[in-house]
Amino acid sequence: MDFSIVQTFIIYILPVYVVAFVLYVIRALKGPTISDQVLAIDAMSYDLAAFLVILSIFFREPILIGTAIVLALWIYALDIYIAKYLEKKEVGE
């Protein structure tokens, strides 16, 4: 199959992803508590990792894929730090 069909399809589904990211960032900016904000950042980052893989296929540059693994792993670390702080009111020790 011609690869330009895949590229045209990705161009058409790109605005849906962008609107979803804008809504995630709005919830992350105005969330009433810290937990809402961290949950919104969490969901946004996992979707952003998927979006980066899709863009690396669209740009036809496979070397860009290493960034998505790093993003998905370190956002989990942020999640655990904030949960530990909320539960015990301290980090480390």
Partner: protein, 87 residues
């Protein structure tokens, strides 16, 4: 009709506008833990902007420092001192 380079540059411009808003909230916020979370939003958006500018090596270094280590260090510091900024 827009070419696809212009579409990518428009997405990058939208992301940079939201990063400016996140930095503004991080500066005026009194609760320090929420300020750390706003800083994490800004770091994630900056990682996306570096990716769109085709710099994956900078992204590989920027994410562990700005999303992983920096909030951990600041949270340890906050847990040793006060939680709310005073005038």
């Amino acid at each position: 009709m827009l070419t696809y380079e212009e579409i990518m540059l428009l997405i990058t411009a939208l992301a940079s506008v939201f990063s400016v808003i996140a930095v503004y909230y991080a500066i005026i916020e009194k609760n320090l833990v929420r300020a750390v979370v706003f800083s994490a939003i800004q770091s994630t958006i900056y990682a996306f902007i570096y990716y769109m500018f085709m710099a994956p090596d900078i992204v590989l270094v920027y994410i562990p420092v700005a999303v992983g280590l920096y909030p951990a260090v600041i949270l340890i510091l906050i847990s040793k001192t006060e939680k709310v900024e005073k005038q």
